[in-house]
């Protein structure tokens, strides 16, 4: 039998005796996240401290009127000015530019992007990190559609969603099918935005992407694949809209289809 495929060997992958000396930066674009921000920071801090990882969170706030920045300053006082960095902007300028802005202040060598509204749970970050270390990947992305990780990771739990009705699931699967047929991206969840990137990889890709919204995340993944960067996937659970309602109108569907067509033409 192949000893490298034995259970012991597979379990060992990604775990090392020496501590992990990389620093992980989390970029959190916020707009009116006064209620969610402290809790997401608490969850992130808990996960990073438990696994003894060097971390920082960069809060890119787009001039929220509800006091998000005050909460961020209180959090910086509680956790340390070197751990919670508030880097606000003058107005609501969009997600892509928020990442570019945040990247200017990153002192880590890996960047994690995620949503600040609890749909992405920080407990999956150690699995991302472990997969990245086991296979020296450039990008690790979370997938809601798979139950096993690609490449293999022994402690991955099956992915899933909460709070989606049948129609939403059908739309989601349809959108992914369309994108997969047209673009053949090699990942099962193209519109997901819970990802771990190597810093230079993210900087490179973000200079090339031109679209916005859902398509922005998709474009980053497609461009990364086209440039030859290695990508792995870890199943995640996605709890949608714990506060508030999800909107998916006809405009968004048309915009999405146009975005897929643009990518088909240009990458």
């Amino acid at each position: 039998m192949n000893p490298f495929a034995s259970p012991v060997s597979l379990n060992m992958q990604g775990q090392y005796n020496t501590s992990n000396t990389h620093k992980y930066s989390v970029i959190l674009p916020t707009y009116n996240e006064r209620k969610n921000l402290p809790i997401i920071v608490w969850l992130l801090a808990k996960v990073f401290e438990e696994h003894q990882l060097a971390w920082e969170i960069i809060v890119v706030d787009d001039a929220s009127p509800d006091g998000t920045q005050e909460v961020a300053i209180e959090l910086a006082r509680a956790y340390g000015e070197d751990k919670i960095l508030l880097r606000p902007r003058a107005g609501k300028l969009g997600l892509g530019t928020a990442y570019v802005h945040g990247l200017n202040f990153c002192t880590g060598d890996f960047v994690i992007i995620m949503d600040a509204d609890f749909s992405h749970h920080p407990k999956f970050i150690p699995q991302f990190i472990r997969l990245q270390q086991a296979h020296n990947l450039d990008i690790v992305t979370g997938t809601r559609y798979r139950s096993k990780s690609t490449p293999y990771l022994s402690d991955s739990q099956p992915g899933g969603v909460h709070g989606w009705d049948l129609k939403r699931k059908l739309v989601s699967r349809g959108a992914n099918f369309l994108a997969a047929t047209m673009l053949n991206p090699g990942v099962s969840d193209l519109t997901g935005s819970f990802r771990l990137y190597r810093l230079p990889v993210l900087k490179h890709i973000i200079t090339l992407t031109q679209s916005r919204g859902y398509v922005f995340q998709m474009e980053m993944m497609v461009r990364a694949r086209a440039l030859g960067y290695t990508v792995g996937e870890v199943p995640i659970t996605f709890v949608d809209r714990i506060f508030g309602e999800s909107k998916l109108g006809a405009d968004e569907v048309v915009g999405y289809a146009k975005g897929v067509w643009q990518l088909f033409k240009s990458v």
Binding site: P38, L43, E74, F118, Y145, V161, H162, T237, F238, K265
Partner: protein
């Protein structure tokens, strides 16, 4: 080369091959000519129907196997409560 251009290139090669065989400019080896003339005109429709049924199957199977995770939701609610209590003790405003 962008994906669109690759797809156009391959499809134009295949379409021209198909048309050449259909109009009997090129012979198909190893198969009887009569059978070839029976099958060829319906080949595009067969491809379309096959793609349609493959898509339907993929979508249906995908929606059927789409996992729900209620336990993740419950766990998250508990963690939110725990977080709020801890943060109040650290002088951070949570409401």
């Amino acid at each position: 080369m962008a994906r669109l251009h690759r797809v156009l290139l391959y499809s134009s090669i295949f379409v021209s091959l198909y048309l050449l065989v259909l109009f009997q400019v090129l012979p198909v080896p190893l198969i009887d000519a009569g059978t070839v003339q029976d099958i060829l005109p319906v080949l595009p429709w067969w491809l379309l129907v096959s793609f349609g049924s493959y898509s339907l199957w993929t979508l249906g199977w995908g929606v059927f196997t789409f996992r729900d995770c209620p336990e993740a939701y419950q766990e998250l609610l508990q963690e939110i409560n725990e977080a709020k209590n801890d943060l109040r003790s650290r002088a951070v405003t949570v409401d």
